[in-house]
C-alpha cells in the first residue's frame, strides 16, 4: 500500500476501534496505573469510538478527515489513557493538515507529531505508559518503504515496548501486568494494520458507549477516600475573563499540576481539556472557572470504579497463600463454584475430561502457595493427580472428590483461617465423606430391569432407582439414598431438566426435616444431580 486517503484513514480508525472493542475487558483488567480503577479499556474505547463518525464529507482530504476524527475524540475523550489517545490523534491530524493523501513518509511524520502532541499534553510524562509504547514504536517504524512495512514495524515495536513497561514502572512489575493504556494502543494499532490490509472492521453490535461499572457499595459510610475524584472537563475560555490572544495556558496547567495528580492538559483554540485526579474537585472547578465556562464536566469517585475483584488480585503483595481449582460442568454449577470461592473452575465432567495441561494452566492462574483441587469424577481425579505431580510452582493438594456433590460440599466447608495446609486438606477430605451424590439420567440401553429411554438414578456405580420421568427417578433415588436422614437435599437441575416448583414441593413434603434446595446447574448428561448432606 502506497498511500492513505481520507476514506482509508477513517477505515483505519474504525479498524482500531473495533479491535479495541473486542479486547476492552482485557485492557480493563490490566489497569493498575495511575489508579487501579479497571476502566482503561472502556475509556480508550469511548474515546476512539467518538472519532469513528466524523462530520466531514467523503470527498475531503486525509487532512480534513484526520481533523474531524480528532475533533470527535476531543469531545469523547475520557480517562487518562483516553485523553492521551485523543492527543495522539490530534497530533497526527496536525501532521496531516492540508494533505489529500499521505504516503509512508508523510504518515510517519504525522505519527511523530502525535508523539510530540501526546507528551506535550502531560506536564509530567511517566515512562512505561502509553506514551512510551507509542513513542518507541513510532521511532522504530520510521523510514519504512511503504505503509505495510510501516504498520508491521509499528505493531511489532509496540508489542516489544509494551512487554518492557513493567521494567520502567514499578507498580506494573509488582502487579505482574503490562501497562493497560499501552496494551489498548497495541490493539488499536493491530486493528489499523488489519484495516490497511482490507480486513473489514466489525464494530460491536450494540456499539453503545461502554457502561461504566459503578459499584455504589464500594464506597460506604466507613470508606476512606483513597483515590480521590477523576475530574474531567472542557473549558471554553471566555473573552470576558481572559485576553484570548495573549493568554498563556501554562499558567493554568502549572496551577493544576500543583493542585492535582495525573494531569493531562491541552488547549485547542479557545477550548481547554483537563483530566486531573483530585480530592477536592470543587476547588479545581472554581479555579478554572476564573478563565472561562465549562462545556462539559465529569467528576467520578475513583474508589467506586476501582472494582474490588479487579483490584485485589493484582495489588496483592506477591501471591496468595491458598487457592482452589474446581471441576464442574454447566453454567449454573460453574457460577455456584465461583461464588463459593473457587479461583478457577475447569469445565469438565462425565463426557469431557480436561487434559493435564488445563490443570497446569489453572494452577498458574491461581498463583497460590497451596492449591486445593476439587475434581468431579474418578477419571478427572487421576488427571488432577497427574497434573499435581508435574507441577512444581505450588504445593498442589488434590482432594479425593469423585462427584460434583463432594467437590461442592468440600468447597463450602473450606476454611483457611488456620493457615495450616495439612489441617485444611484433612478437613476437606473429611467433608467429602459426609456427602452423598446421586445422578439422574436417561438409560441408553436395556439393562436388567431398566429399559432404554427410562430414567435411572445412580449413586456410585449402582443403579438405585428408575422411573418414567426424571422427576420420578429423582424421588425414588432420594429415597434409596437415605434422604430422610439428611439435613439438606440440594438438587441441581441439568440443561434438560426442569426447575419445577412441584418437584421442590414433593421433596419438601416427603422430607420435612430437610431443607430442599433446587438450583439450576445447567449440567449436560444428567437431568438432575442430587447432593445430600
Amino acid at each position: 500500500m502506497d498511500r492513505i486517503d481520507a476514506n482509508l484513514y477513517l477505515n483505519l480508525i474504525r479498524g482500531g476501534a473495533a479491535a479495541l472493542a473486542a479486547h476492552r475487558q482485557t485492557v480493563n483488567d490490566l489497569n493498575v496505573f495511575p489508579i487501579p480503577d479497571g476502566d482503561t479499556g472502556d475509556n480508550m474505547y469511548m474515546t476512539i469510538q467518538a472519532g469513528t463518525r466524523p462530520s466531514t464529507s467523503s470527498g475531503s482530504g486525509i487532512g480534513e478527515m484526520a481533523k474531524a476524527v480528532s475533533d470527535g475524540m476531543l469531545t469523547g475523550a475520557r480517562g487518562n489513557s483516553g485523553v492521551i489517545l485523543s492527543r495522539i490523534f490530534a497530533g497526527i491530524a496536525k501532521g496531516l493538515a492540508g494533505q489529500r493523501e499521505a504516503d509512508a513518509d508523510a504518515f510517519a511524520r504525522a505519527m511523530q507529531a502525535g508523539v510530540e502532541e501526546s507528551y506535550h499534553a502531560v506536564p509530567e510524562p511517566v515512562e512505561g505508559t502509553i506514551l512510551t509504547v507509542f513513542r518507541e514504536a513510532v521511532e522504530a517504524a520510521a523510514g519504512s518503504r511503504d505503509l505495510d512495512e510501516y504498520f508491521d514495524l509499528l505493531t511489532g515495536a509496540m508489542d516489544l515496548s509494551l512487554q518492557h513497561t513493567p521494567e520502567l514502572l514499578d507498580v506494573l512489575k509488582k502487579a505482574g501486568v503490562v501497562d493497560s493504556g499501552g496494551a489498548g494502543l497495541l490493539y488499536i494499532a493491530e486493528g489499523m494494520r488489519a484495516a490497511l490490509h482490507g480486513e473489514a472492521a466489525e464494530m460491536p453490535a450494540d456499539d453503545a458507549p461502554a457502561v461504566q461499572k459503578v459499584d455504589l457499595d464500594a464506597f460506604t459510610e466507613d470508606s476512606v477516600l483513597e483515590f480521590g475524584y477523576c475530574t474531567e472537563f472542557l473549558l471554553r475560555l471566555q473573552r470576558a475573563k481572559v485576553d484570548l490572544e495573549t493568554f498563556d495556558e501554562t499558567v493554568l496547567s502549572d496551577w493544576l499540576s500543583q493542585n492535582g495528580e495525573s494531569l493531562v492538559f491541552f488547549r485547542d483554540g479557545s477550548v481547554i481539556k483537563v483530566h486531573v485526579h483530585t480530592r477536592t474537585p470543587g476547588e479545581i472547578l472554581n479555579h478554572c472557572q476564573l478563565y472561562g465556562e465549562f462545556l462539559t464536566v465529569k467528576v467520578e469517585n475513583m474508589t467506586l470504579q476501582h472494582h474490588e475483584n479487579h483490584m485485589e488480585e493484582r495489588f496483592r503483595q506477591g501471591r496468595k497463600a491458598f487457592g482452589v481449582v474446581a471441576v464442574a460442568s454447566g453454567t449454573g454449577l460453574t457460577d455456584t463454584f465461583k461464588e463459593l470461592g473457587a479461583d478457577v473452575v475447569i469445565e469438565g465432567g462425565q463426557t469431557m475430561n480436561p487434559p493435564v495441561e488445563r490443570f497446569l494452566r489453572a494452577f498458574d492462574a491461581v498463583d497460590a502457595d497451596t492449591v486445593f483441587v476439587l475434581p468431579d469424577n474418578s477419571n478427572i481425579l487421576l488427571t488432577a493427580r497427574q497434573a499435581a505431580d508435574l507441577y512444581d510452582k505450588s504445593d498442589i493438594r488434590v482432594i479425593p472428590c469423585k462427584t460434583l456433590g463432594e467437590g461442592y460440599y468440600a468447597l463450602a466447608n473450606l476454611d483457611t483461617e488456620s493457615g495450616d495446609a495439612d489441617a485444611i486438606e484433612a478437613a476437606l477430605t473429611e467433608a467429602v465423606s459426609e456427602v452423598k451424590t446421586g445422578l439422574v439420567s436417561r438409560a441408553i440401553r436395556d439393562s436388567g430391569t431398566v429399559h432404554e429411554g427410562e430414567y435411572i438414578g445412580i449413586s456410585g456405580k449402582d443403579i438405585l432407582a428408575a422411573g418414567p420421568t426424571p422427576e420420578e427417578a429423582l424421588l425414588a433415588l432420594a429415597e434409596s439414598m437415605g434422604a430422610a436422614s439428611s439435613d439438606v437435599l440440594l438438587v441441581f437441575a441439568g440443561a434438560g431438566g426442569t426447575h419445577s416448583k412441584r418437584l421442590q414441593e414433593d421433596l419438601a413434603r416427603k422430607y420435612p426435616r430437610a431443607e430442599v434446595i433446587l438450583s439450576s446447574g445447567g449440567q449436560p448428561v444428567y437431568d438432575y444431580i442430587l447432593v445430600l448432606f
Binding site: G341, A412, D487, V488, L490, A514
Partner: protein, 289 residues
C-alpha cells in the same frame, strides 16, 4: 426532664417507642440512589415488600446521618431544658456516631447546663431492641438515668444475640462480619452462625447444614449461655421469615417451657440490607455474649 432517644436500627417501631415516650432517630438506606428514612418516609414498614426486593437481587446501601440531622433531633430538647439519654446501635459498626459526637459537642457549648447520656447496645436489630425495651422498662419504673447507666455497665454484655443468615452475599458486600473471610460466597444449604460480640461486632462462629440444624443451633446457644432469661425480654427477630421465627419459638418452648413471653420482631430495613432475607435471630439474657 429526660428525653429518651433510640434509633430505627434497633428495630424499635414508632408504636413501641410510644410505650416509653421514646423518640426515634431515623437511620436511612438507599435504593437506586433514593434515600429512605424509616418511619419518616413511610408510616409502617412493609417487610415482605422490602425483603422481596432484596430477594429479587436489589441490594440497598446504607448511609450515615449528618451532624446537622443530629442537631435537629437534639437541639429542641436542650433548648427546652431537657437532658438526653440516647440508647443506640453499635458504635463499632458505623461512623455515624462521629457526626453525633460533633453535634453533641457543639450543642454542649451552646447549652452547657444540659447533659447528654448514651448507652451503646453494642449490637444492632434484635439485641438492641431487647436492650431498649429493658431500659425503657427501668425508666418507666422510675429509675433515674444514673441508675440506668449503672445497670447498663454490666447488663449490656449480658444480652446475647445469635443468628443465621441465608446468603452471605449481603454480608460480603458490607464486609461487616469477621471470621467469614474464608467462605465469602453464597453457601447454598449451609448457614453461618453469627453472634454479636462484646466489642459490638458481628462474628462468625461456625456453620450448620440446613435450616433445621441452624435453628437447633440457636436453641442450643440459649441452653448453653442462657441465664435467667425468663425474667427478661426474650426476642426472636427475623428478616421476613415469620414461619422460621415461629418454628424457632416453638422449639424454644418445647425445650424451656411456656412460662415466659417470647416477642417476635421484624428486622429493620437498614440492618436488613446487610443481612439479607430469610435470617432468624434470638436474643436472650445470658452469662455472657
Amino acid at each position: 426532664m429526660l428525653t429518651f432517644f433510640t434509633d430505627t436500627d434497633t428495630d424499635i417501631t414508632p408504636a413501641v417507642a410510644a410505650e416509653y415516650g421514646c423518640r426515634l432517630i431515623s437511620m436511612p438506606y438507599s435504593v437506586d440512589a433514593k434515600t429512605v428514612y424509616p418511619y419518616v418516609d413511610f408510616d409502617t414498614f412493609d417487610a415482605r415488600e422490602f425483603y422481596d426486593m432484596l430477594r429479587s437481587g436489589v441490594l440497598p446501601t446504607t448511609s450515615a446521618i449528618s451532624k446537622e440531622r443530629y442537631i435537629e433531633y437534639f437541639e429542641p430538647e436542650f433548648a427546652a431544658g431537657n437532658d438526653i439519654l440516647y440508647v443506640h446501635f453499635s458504635r463499632a459498626m458505623t461512623i455515624t456516631f462521629n457526626a453525633m459526637d460533633e453535634a453533641v459537642a457543639e450543642l454542649k457549648a451552646q447549652y452547657p447546663a444540659r447533659n447528654f447520656h448514651e448507652i451503646d447496645t453494642k449490637g444492632i436489630t434484635t439485641i438492641s431492641y431487647t436492650l431498649v425495651r429493658e431500659i425503657g422498662d427501668l425508666l418507666k419504673a422510675g429509675k433515674t438515668v444514673e441508675e440506668v447507666l449503672e445497670w447498663a455497665e454490666t447488663e449490656v454484655d449480658r444480652f446475647a444475640m445469635y443468628f443465621f443468615a441465608d446468603d452471605l452475599k449481603f454480608f460480603r458486600r458490607s464486609g461487616r462480619v469477621s471470621g467469614l473471610a474464608a467462605t465469602m460466597g453464597t453457601l447454598i444449604g449451609i448457614r453461618p452462625i453469627i453472634y454479636m460480640s462484646q466489642e459490638g461486632k458481628m462474628v462468625s462462629c461456625g456453620k450448620e447444614k440446613g435450616r433445621l440444624k441452624a435453628m437447633e443451633r440457636l436453641v442450643q446457644e440459649v441452653a448453653d449461655l442462657g441465664d435467667g432469661f425468663k425474667s427478661h425480654h426474650f426476642v426472636i427477630g427475623h428478616t421476613d421469615a415469620p414461619e422460621l421465627a415461629q418454628e424457632v419459638g416453638r422449639m424454644i418452648r418445647e425445650r424451656f417451657g411456656d412460662d415466659f413471653p417470647i416477642e417476635y420482631v421484624v428486622c429493620n430495613p437498614t440492618a436488613g440490607s446487610h443481612a439479607g432475607p430469610n435470617g432468624v435471630s434470638v436474643c436472650f439474657h445470658a452469662k455472657h455474649r
